[in-house]
Amino acid sequence: MSASPVYLDAATAAPLHPVARQALLAALDDGWADPGKLYTQARRARQLLDAARAAAAETLGVRPDELSFTPSGTAAAHAAVLGGLAGRRRVGRRLVHSAIEHSAVLHAAERHVADGGEATSVPVDRLGGLDVDVWAAAVRAPGVALAALIAASHEVGTLQPVSEAAAACADAGVPLYVDAAQAVGRVPVPGGWSVLSASAHKWGGPAGVGLLVVRKGTRWESPYPADERESGRTPGALNLPAVVAAAASLRAVAADAAAEAARLSPLVDLIRSRVAAEVPDVEVVGDPERRLPHLVTFSCLYVDGEALLHALDRRGFAVSSGSSCTSSTLRPSHVLEAMGVLSHGNVRISLHRETSAADVERFLAELPGIVAALRAEAGVVGL
């Protein structure tokens, strides 16, 4: 008998929210025309787009004209970094970022450096929290065009001190970009930022929709060839049905966010305590308190991460890993590396609205045996 599937990788992609499905299907019939044109079908598409923008902006507490939809969260992150740097190139060419940014942000930073720009990486502590003193000194340095901070670590869940970081940026006159991909729809995002990005499939919207918010007065310049759509911030025709579904589901998850956090956070506490107690030689990483409500990461000593993922998959559990053997680059997660915590045998669990206490219980019941079997197979028991 095969085990029933338990999906525990919402931080990669949350299952499609029913509101998203409903809106998507409706908008497929109604929202196929180009909203920029001057005929009836286009006006209907324009209405849908305007309504989606208004809804998403209201949920995030920003003005509709500050918010653009992008073809993905990654595209939004690239545009946030490169556009924020381009808009202030006369001030300087330095980007300050935390060491635990998403790879989309780090790859944009690499592009900037390859083009002759400079980047300063600010370290985190063992729990994955930003070193605010180093950050404050870094943003005060001359020639800083932009600072980038992830709202909460996508790999270990640690909430970052966004308010303190924003205050340091304000003192230095440096705009702050916040990658809120894991926070939007889950936890409130502190203010004080100038640019923000998010990704719809992290909250239960469809893949292929990102959000880019550029606050009024921010000097941001598109890094792309000219295109008038989305206030000139992101080129190309949008996938309007997906945008409509993203906005509708964002409103739904934001309305439920506090209740969902209250339901999921104790399940994460349970995973943290039971994994630590019942799996020998395991390191549960990330901040136990200042954390996302739905995400937890741990590493099992002497266990091959890829083998662990496959063993869990055979038992029906879908999880993610920051171990090098599970990455296409064969490098360990830069987040685990920056924290100085064990990178092999790593598992990231991320819960969502369909995750039940029974799912978590079954995972916790089966994990110790799965890890023990892998250790026995590798001959590392008792090391």
Binding site: D281, E283, L301, Y302, V303, D304, G305, S323, S324, C325, L330, R331, P332, L336, E337, G340, V341, L342, S343, H344, G345, A378, V380, L383
Partner: protein, 75 residues
């Protein structure tokens, strides 16, 4: 200088850590083992193993044999 060299080049995570964990109890307290390991995960995992096991991580040395990690048996 290390008392012993463990050549773990070509081994993927977590094999270099397993190698040092196997060898350490066979050596007297105070022995310094140099682990040669070219898997980038070793740079993270050998210091982390030392912290979890209460062994002493002395540092990373990059020489002609690639990256090496010095560990002293502490107990």
């Amino acid at each position: 200088m290390p008392d012993e060299v463990l050549d773990c080049r070509g081994q993927r995570c977590p094999l270099p850590v397993i190698a040092v964990a196997r060898r350490m109890p066979e050596l007297p307290v105070g022995t310094v083992v140099r682990v040669l390991a070219d898997d980038p995960a070793a740079a993270v995992d050998i210091p982390a193993w030392c912290r979890m096991r209460g062994q002493e991580f002395l540092g990373t040395v990059t020489g002609p044999d690639g990256p090496a990690y010095d560990v002293r048996r502490h107990h």
